[in-house]
């Protein structure tokens, strides 16, 4: 990759983080929980986006960020109240800023009209808020045409106007250049603040032969008029942090004429001091410089380069994926080796067997560590949702407050990237179909603003996403009518409430009377259901008329490995996910009760659960085996249903590497995936939920429901 492209890619990554911080900060302020630090953080985020954009010449992005920054600046200095309306505008501005960043990436276009409208609103905010202290318009950015008709405004914030001036010594480091910033950019920014005198310090420039082209040797001394606020100058350098040493010193008494031009040698000595070099032969001058600052009641600001702690690294995802694949192979290989050693008849206490046990533990640890590398908080998905909700709320005319919980819940990267679409659909559905209009809400005595809650949590080795709304709940009567009208169920079908609720997952079902551009095309929920099932997940609804609905989505934490119970059914070896198994037992004859011609139930601790013969359920045999000679797995499905699965024997418990059946063959009902066992044979992984649901297959009313699930 071209080095500039690499730097740009890093910039865009940083942008994503900054934009997320920006939105988070604004939301915090909106919830009246923020303080000065939050406003500062928000300001810095916009400023840093703008800084990098300037370095790469994204002029439109810079221009918009500038207006945004100006408004935030006014808020920071207390001239603009961080109240609801201003923050709502700023949230929309952050959406537009994100669009600009996307456009700069070459993905998507900016809605110019919207951008201009928001830019004007922002400018109006500051115009109004700034009052009489508006200084003359700052010059437009170089080459960047402010073609939106707004005027960038600049405010003097906290520094009283005084004569004299600032002496700025700017020494970039090599790291700054390596990140794609350039000294020229900062000098240009400073010049935009005010006219200044620039002097270049060549004293450290080596001979051409000795010069290392990516090393930084130059430094600049600038004289800036004293009426520029210190914070304004420092902000220019905000986003380079320690990568550019900046020394800002006040010089000159209040009377400008008395400002003594400091002899150049002072600065060189100063520079030496900044770099931590011994100021050879310059020691007296250093002292002099210090005295000068002291005598003038100087105000010194210094940011020295500091060693950066190697806290995080960015790694190409492909490399991690490759490692995971390899570790998967290692696990299989280790299992095969263990099996062969077992078959060779070595004693369990032999050194080989002990060594193998240790190897197994190590393998397991490696696998856990590798999986942990790929685990990410769901925040990256959640943080896109506030914007989505704002946009849906805007276009439906509903008032929505989104409450998010559990953003820190970690889940494997493979799952994360496929969470976004289902959550998007569920939120759309909750707002468009779940929440009532503000008038309707007021009519039934609810607050006009509806609340949609998006929560993530870990539950028994799975990640559960819940979307809760406080809307009108599912109108079961209407759902039923529509399903009958569309021929999805028979008109005399006796359906439980739960079954009616599940009708909305049928393909081609839509209750919206008008097709909106958000949902209502009837492709929503069945697509959600299918995409979730493809991930080995499940979706469930609970709804209470008048009070709202809860959509619960449950997914495996990883799509790469699974803890399973290896069982034998007839000639086949199967793996049952351990998370679904409550207990295993061998029933006594009097605990098995016949029920109807084919059915049977098992008495377990005072209750009865259906007995399902796996061999029959999967079509491997026609008559069930006697449960008392087999083994029963007591399992529980996601929705809470229990059943007793009859298998021939249990072979053991182990972690298996999931090999997708869809990717290699096709989807098979009741089978979640496959794996390769230690002996090299393929074993199928049981989809317990489907097996449990399959009980209803022979009930004719539910044929369609079963098809939909």
């Amino acid at each position: 990759m071209d080095p500039m492209d690499a730097i740009k890619a890093t910039y865009f990554q940083e942008c994503d983080e900054l934009l997320a911080d920006l939105e988070q900060g604004l939301l915090t302020l909106d919830a009246s929980e923020g303080d000065g630090d939050t406003i500062n953080a928000v300001f810095r985020a916009v400023h840093s986006v703008k800084g990098g954009a300037g370095a790469f010449g994204f002029e439109a992005l810079v221009a918009f960020a500038h207006v945004f920054e100006t408004a935030l600046d006014a808020m920071r200095s207390g001239k603009l109240e961080p109240d609801g309306d201003a923050l709502k505008l700023m949230l929309r501005a952050s959406d537009v800023l994100a669009d600009f960043v996307q456009a700069a990436k070459g993905q998507g276009v900016v809605d110019e009209v919207r951008a201009q409208g928001i830019a004007e609103e922002l400018a109006a905010l500051t115009d109004h808020g700034a009052g009489p202290r508006v200084s003359e318009p700052a010059p437009a950015s170089d080459g960047g045409d402010d073609d939106w008709g707004f005027t960038p405004l600049k405010f003097e914030i906290d520094e009283p106007v005084s004569a004299g001036g600032w002496l700025l010594v700017m020494t970039p480091t090599s790291a700054m250049y390596a990140k794609g910033h350039d000294a020229a950019f900062f000098l240009r920014e400073i010049e935009r603040l005010s006219s200044c005198e620039t002097a270049l310090d060549l004293s450290n420039l080596p001979d051409l032969d000795a010069l290392s082209p990516e090393e930084s040797y130059l430094s600049w001394r600038l004289r800036i008029p004293g009426d520029v606020a210190e914070t304004t100058i420092r902000e220019v350098f905000d986003f380079v942090g320690d990568d550019c040493s900046v020394e800002l010193t006040r010089f000159g008494a209040p009377a400008p004429a008395a400002a003594p031009p400091a002899p150049p040698i002072d600065f060189e000595a100063l520079l030496g001091a900044v770099r931590g070099e011994p100021a050879a032969a310059g020691a007296p001058q250093v002292n002099e410089a210090h005295e000068e600052r002291g005598a003038n009641g100087a105000d010194k600001v210094s940011a020295k380069p500091a060693a950066l702690g190697g806290a995080t690294i960015r790694v190409d995802l492909e490399r991690v994926d490759r490692m995971i694949d390899l570790v998967g192979e290692l696990v299989i290989n280790q299992a095969m080796l263990a099996q062969r050693v077992g078959e060779s008849g070595l004693a369990r206490s032999s050194t080989v067997a002990i060594g193998l046990d240790e190897l197994e533990q190590l393998t397991r640890e490696i696998q856990d560590s590798v999986m942990a590398i790929r685990a990410q908080p769901v925040k990256s998905v959640f943080q896109r949702m506030p914007r989505l909700v704002r946009e849906i709320a805007g276009s439906t005319g509903k008032q929505v407050r989104l409450v998010m919980e559990g953003e820190g819940t970690e889940v494997d990267k493979t799952v994360i990237e496929r969470l976004s679409d289902p959550i998007t659909h569920m939120l759309r559905n909750a707002i468009d179909h779940g929440l009532e209009s503000p008038q309707d809400r007021a009519a039934v005595g609810k607050p006009e603003e509806g609340v949609v809650r998006l929560a993530a949590l870990h539950r028994s080795g799975r990640i559960v996403i819940e979307v809760t709304d406080d809307g009108k709940g599912i109108d079961r009567q209407r759902v039923r009518e529509i399903a009958i009208k569309k021929g999805l169920v028979a008109s005399d079908a006796a359906l439980t409430d739960e079954e009616v609720d599940n009708l909305i997952f049928l393909p081609g079902f839509s209750t919206a009377s008008t097709v909106s551009n958000i949902s209502g095309r009837g492709v929503g929920m069945d697509v959600v259901k299918r995409s979730i099932q493809a991930l080995g997940g499940r979706i469930a609804i609970t709804s209470e008329p008048g009070k709202g609905s809860v959509f619960t989505l449950s997914l495996p934490l990883t799509l790469a490995v699974l803890d399973g119970m290896v069982v034998r059914v007839g000639e086949q070896t199967l793996v049952a996910p351990l998370t679904t198994i409550i207990e295993t037992l061998r029933p006594k004859a009097d605990e098995v009760r016949r029920l109807g011609p084919r059915g049977a139930v098992l008495a377990v601790r005072g209750g009865h659960v259906p007995l399902i013969d796996i061999g029959v359920a999967l079509g491997w045999r026609t008559t069930p085996i006697d449960p008392t000679i087999g083994v029963v797995l007591l399992v529980e499905s996601e929705v809470g249903g229990r059943a007793a699965l009859v298998v021939d024997a249990i072979q053991g418990q182990r972690q298996v590497v999931i090999k997708s059946l869809e990717a290699n063959y096709q989807r098979v009902d009741a089978i979640a995936a496959a794996t390769i066992l230690g002996d090299g044979r393929v074993a199928l992984i049981l989809d317990v939920d489907v097996v449990l649901d399959g009980r209803s297959l022979d009930r004719p009313d539910n044929l369609l429901l079963a098809q939909a699930s």
């Binding site: 071209d2 080095p3 010449g57 250049y177 390596a178 000294a183 020229a184």
Partner: protein
């Protein structure tokens, strides 16, 4: 010798190499195509100018583009182009 359009971080090393190879003879650099001039390349050009001066050879940057002139001015490196008139 003509200077490339973009003189940024990535251009500094090739520029230094080219200049080092041209050493020992009078040099005229055509800056008419330059669209962007960054700090690192300014360093190289300044070091080259000093080197040629030390060798007693002529070193000139001719036809500076507006972008080149502006960046040189911003960075206080006007000497790079103003010497054209001086010699």
């Amino acid at each position: 010798m003509a200077l490339p359009q973009i003189l940024d971080f990535a251009a500094a090393a090739p520029l230094r190499a080219e200049l080092a190879a041209a050493r020992g003879a009078p040099l005229e650099l055509d800056a008419s195509a330059v669209e962007r001039l960054g700090g690192l390349c300014v360093q190289v050009l300044l070091a080259a100018e000093a080197a040629w001066r030390g060798d007693g050879q002529a070193f000139q940057i001719i036809n500076p583009s507006p972008a080149f002139a502006e960046a040189a001015r911003l960075m206080g490196a006007q000497a790079l182009i103003s010497q054209e008139g001086a010699r």
